[in-house]
Every structure is written in structure tokens, then in C-alpha cells.
Amino acid sequence: MEKAIFISRIKQLKFIKPDYARIYYGNEFCERLISSPSLLKEVLFYAQKNNLNFTFVTPYVTDLGLKKINSLFELLYRFQNSCEVVFNDWGVFDLARSEYPAFTLALGRLLVKQKRGPRLIELLKRKIKARFIKDKNGGKVKQILIQKKLPLSLDDYYKGANISSSTIIHDFLISHGVKRIEMDNVAQGLYLGLPQNKISVSLYLPYVYITTTFFCPTAGCAANKNNPLKIKKCGRECQRYVFKLTHKSMPKTIYLKGNTQFYINKKLSISSLAKSPVNRIVYFPELVV
């Protein structure tokens, strides 16, 4: 089992331990945070010097972000043309396969359509649930919620994903040289139906991504709130603030970092890694973005 560390900033290099064999560098969620060429070079040299494998991670992008990525791909290709690249955007995939054919491509977790909303954890327990609420007079009222009984036939839908189970997708990926997919360690359990020895899985720990947006809720979060319009200037507040979101109906605390929500699951959701296609664990020392 290969151990990798995912960093999005240079200062996170301090978290690297001797048992890591690979560095993931980049980001998945925001084109404003795409690395500069100089920082990319710095991490590449660090990896080379410390005999670590290197994976470059790219986000979903507009045409503007695609231009930035293209210039980084040029640099990367000159440095190590077989470098592993994680794509989270089909446009980035199209760019990489047509213009940088020697890259080793891995399909990012945003394109693996796992169901990640934490309320699924309760739903799949298929239990009735009781709780106490206040009535109009301030007294306690017991309220019993009966969850809809989900048929077991839905388990591989809610614990699996299209990309990790559909043979027609596997054939497509293999024919385009994609032999690795990146997946979240979702708390409801994980079903994998991948062709043996043809497609491998990297499993991300402990932050499970839930949702993401261009309408960044963190951009301008410290600014004057008088203007209700949603587009606020990005002051990279995501590099300073994290928001913890809790709600009685949500079984996990949600962490909002920048434009993306996550929850934490430290427990491995797959019973036997030895028999599974998971051959790499990717650790996040901190919330990315």
C-alpha cells in the first residue's frame, strides 16, 4: 500500500513523514488557487531531492484556469513527462490526453459521483429514530421519525459510484489510458466494482468532500455585509478561516473551507484493503483549498 500526502501549500511540506512515498500537490476546487510555476518547481525539486513520487492535482476550471493549467503542464512535461496528473474537469482531461500524451492520468474525486451527504449515513442504517423537541408550551414532546425503508438494492448505488462500478465507463477509461481513480472514504461504506488489476483506487483520508461552488461563501466573508449581492471580491479569506457548520439533522460536523464543504471520516470504510483495488492512501494533513 502506497502512502501519499496531499499538500496545497508549500508550508505543508513540514507534515511529510518518512513513510510517505508520494506527494500530491495542487488543488481540486478553485482555479484562483492554482499554483504559480515557481511554487510548482519548488515542490517538484523537493520531491526529486527526497526521492518521492509526484502527483499534480488540478481543479475544475473556466477557460482562464485552463490557460494557467496549460502553462503548468508545459513546465511539468519538461520536468517529468510521465508525471501523474489528477484531473477533475473533462476539459483538463481533453487537454492532457491530446497535448501531453505521456502524462499518467488519474480521474479525480469530483468526477467520481459518490454520494457523500452525511445524512446518508443515517438513511442507510434503516432504523427508526426518536428525539425530543419542544412543544408550543415549552414542554418536551417525543417525536419519532420513521425513515423510509430503502431497499437493499440501493446499497451499491449509495455506497458505490457510477465511475467505480460501470463496465462501460471502465472500458472507456482504460482505452484512454486512465488506470487510476481517486475516491473519498465515505462514512456509509464503500462498494467498489472495478476490473481486477486494470484500474486502481486512491483513497482520500480523512476529509470527505461534499459539495463545491464558484459562488464562494468565504470570499469577502469578513467584509461589510450591507451589500447582499453574492459576488464578493476574493481576498483569499479561505487561507485564514474555516467554518464549522452543525445542525440537528446532520450527523456529522461540516467544515466549510473556501468554496467547498467537507466532513471528517477517519475510519476506513472498506473492510479489506488487501483484496480491494485500493493500493494508495492519500492523507490530508489539513483541510485543503
Binding site: Y60, V61, T62, D63, L66, D89, W90, G91, V92, F93, D94, K113, K115, R119, L120, I128, G139, V141, K142, Q143, I144, L145, I146, Q147, K148, L150, L154, D156, Y157, Y158, N162, S165, S166, I168, I169, F172, G193, T211, T212, F214, G220, C221, A222, K225, P228, L229, K230, I231, Q239, R240, Y241, V242, F243, K244, L245, T246, H247, K248, L256, Q261
Partner: protein, 350 residues
């Protein structure tokens, strides 16, 4: 001129929506064979029986009615599917082949590959779930046989210009009213909680003495918050300042949750002036799940906005926005001045 793509779910709606200004219609279908095995959750993402046709014969008749008025009909099949569902999915597509849909709207890569392999007569449109934000993503889907791309709600006017000008051979569709998701549709992995809890009454009452003392309520109505979509919950928010490694109590520093600022309807009508200058061909009215009268008034509203452009080709942008906002008040029953916080393209009205 831009077209209007409108959702429908009953045959009786077809003529009324076309009369109101619909140029294209789209609908969903929840097959009973699917619902029996997999429930009404997530075959095509929108609200089960309340949003979709459930009888093939009725659907066929509705498509026929639309075609008699020369209006194309697109079938939304934009769920995500796992391998065990493919045998049934294939059978359903067999059935659907007997109906002359003009296109299938798909989000799932596997279904897209399947439709391509089956060489169906219907065209393929890529749903907003296809997450297209740049020109090369269009290349990707074009290579897989797509003839139209439904752009994500968060694609800016500038991006629309870039993407459409790079691909004049592809049709593009942009959202124009209702359901402005805060998060990117195709990257949001929350399960929306349609019908999560049953309306059945709980019959077993726990025998615990302490509990007996309390007033026991049967959950015939539920906490609205708990049933709401996760993006609309009123969370308790704590802010952590990473520079100080501590939790801040300063309430001034909070994320902006747009859904909690809601007043009025989610709408992008003011941007029609700018969208018309891009290569976008069709405006999508969202809301298969909405009441028929609402979809009808939405169609009339967007048609009225397009008529402003049609009737006065030299109209200035400011004047168009003023007239569009007047229409918004008239058709959407909104009395106040538009504040823009439910606006698809707030940059347009700044």
C-alpha cells in the same frame, strides 16, 4: 432569437405551454419497473412521481401533441447509475426508443457511452450535471456525440461568450429562472431528501416510564429544517481563525449563505440582453416539480422579456433591464424593487 425550453409533466399542459411561448419542451419519466426496485429516489433526480410521467402511453401521446405543434420534446435522463442498474436501464431505453424524443438529456458518463453505443436516433444533450465550464469540456462531450450542452447555472456571461464562440456547431442552453443552486449541480453530492421520512403514523410506543410521562407526539408532521435540502439548513456556524488556531465568536465573520437571503424568485431575466449576445441558443425554465400555473406564468414572463428584444432591436441594456424587472413584478407577483440577491447574474445589474 433565443428559444425557451419549458418543463412539463402532463399531456394537458402541452398546448397551454406552447401558447404561452414555449419553443421546446422537456420532461422526465419514472418507469414503474424502476420505482419497484429502486424507489422514486434519483432515477432522474427530480421529485419522483410528482415531477415525472409514469405511464409510457401517456408520455407518448404528450410527445405526439407537441410534435403536432412542431415543438421538440427532450427527455431528461440525468440521474447517475451503477452497473447493477444497467440491465433495467437498457430495457427502459428499449421502451423509450418507441417514442420519438428529439433528444435525451444525460449527465452520467456511462449512460452517455451507452446511448452512443446504441446509436439511437434521438440527439444527446449534456445536462448541467456534465459540469461544463470551459471550451475543452465541450470538445470532450462533442467527441462523445453531444449536440447540445446545458451550461451550469454558475457559468458567467463572459464564459458563455468564450465557450459558445469556440463551438458554433454545438447548441448551448442557459438556465434563466427558478432553483438557483448555491453549489455546482454536477459536483454537489448531497442527497436531496425527497420523501425521506414516511407519513405513516408510528404505532409502537416505547414503554420506558420516563418517556411515558412526556407528551408523546406522533411524527405526522416533521421539522421543516430536517426535511430541507442540506444547502438550505440554518446551520450553527463557528468560525475558526487558522492564524490564531482558535474559535472566533466574532459574528461579523461568517460565510455568505445566499439561500438565507432569499426574497423573490431566483431569476436571470435581466441577463437575457447579454445572453442574447452570446452563442447561447435556448433559455431553460427550471421546475418540473413546480405547479403548472407557475410554469405557465414563468413561460409568459420569459417570453415577454424576449419580446422586448424582438420588438426593439436597438434597445439599450439599461432600458431592457428596467422593462424586464417590470415584467418580473407583473408575472412573478413580486412587489418590491429587485434586490438582486436571487439573481443568476448579479454582475449584470450592478
Amino acid at each position: 432569437m433565443l428559444k425557451i425550453s419549458v418543463p412539463f409533466r402532463e399531456e394537458e399542459e402541452v398546448n397551454a405551454l406552447i401558447d404561452a411561448g414555449a419553443d421546446e419542451l422537456y420532461c422526465g419519466y419514472l418507469p414503474p419497473s424502476w420505482e419497484r426496485i429502486y424507489t422514486d429516489l434519483e432515477f432522474e433526480r427530480k421529485g419522483g412521481r410528482k415531477s415525472n410521467f409514469t405511464e409510457l402511453g401517456v408520455l407518448k401521446k404528450a410527445v405526439h401533441t407537441a410534435h403536432n405543434r412542431n415543438v421538440p420534446v427532450y427527455l431528461t435522463l440525468n440521474g447517475l447509475y451503477v452497473n447493477s442498474q444497467y440491465p433495467l436501464l437498457n430495457k427502459i431505453i428499449d421502451q423509450l426508443e418507441g417514442i420519438a424524443f428529439d433528444s435525451f438529456i444525460v449527465a452520467d458518463l456511462g449512460l452517455l457511452l451507452l446511448l452512443r453505443k446504441r446509436r439511437l436516433k434521438s440527439k444527446i444533450h449534456i445536462s448541467t450535471g456534465g459540469t461544463v465550464f470551459n471550451s475543452r469540456s465541450v470538445d470532450f462531450y462533442k467527441g462523445l456525440g453531444a449536440s447540445r450542452i446545458v451550461l451550469d447555472r454558475q457559468v458567467s456571461i463572459d464564459s458563455m461568450k468564450n465557450i459558445t464562440s469556440a463551438h458554433p456547431e454545438i447548441e448551448f442552453e442557459a438556465f434563466i429562472i427558478n432553483t438557483l443552486c448555491v453549489y455546482i449541480d454536477g459536483f454537489c453530492t448531497f442527497t436531496h431528501m425527497y420523501n425521506l421520512y414516511t407519513d405513516e403514523k408510528q404505532k409502537r410506543i416505547p414503554k420506558d416510564t420516563k418517556e411515558k410521562k412526556m407528551l408523546l407526539s406522533i411524527a405526522s408532521s416533521y421539522d421543516i429544517d430536517s426535511r430541507a435540502d442540506a444547502c438550505c439548513l440554518k446551520y450553527d456556524v463557528k468560525t475558526i481563525d487558522l492564524d490564531k488556531s482558535d474559535i472566533i465568536v466574532d459574528k461579523k465573520i461568517k460565510p455568505v449563505f445566499f439561500k438565507q437571503l432569499t426574497d423573490g424568485r431566483e431569476c436571470g431575466a435581466c441577463a437575457i440582453y447579454d445572453i442574447a449576445l452570446t452563442g447561447v441558443k435556448s433559455l431553460k425554465i427550471v421546475g418540473r416539480q413546480l405547479a403548472p400555473e407557475l410554469r405557465l406564468s414563468d413561460t409568459r414572463f420569459i417570453r415577454a422579456c424576449l419580446d422586448i428584444l424582438k420588438d426593439n432591436k436597438k434597445i439599450k441594456k439599461d432600458k431592457f433591464i428596467q422593462l424586464a424587472q417590470d415584467n418580473y413584478k407583473d408575472y412573478c407577483g413580486y412587489k418590491d424593487k429587485c434586490r438582486g440577491n436571487n439573481c443568476y447574474h448579479p454582475g449584470v445589474i450592478l
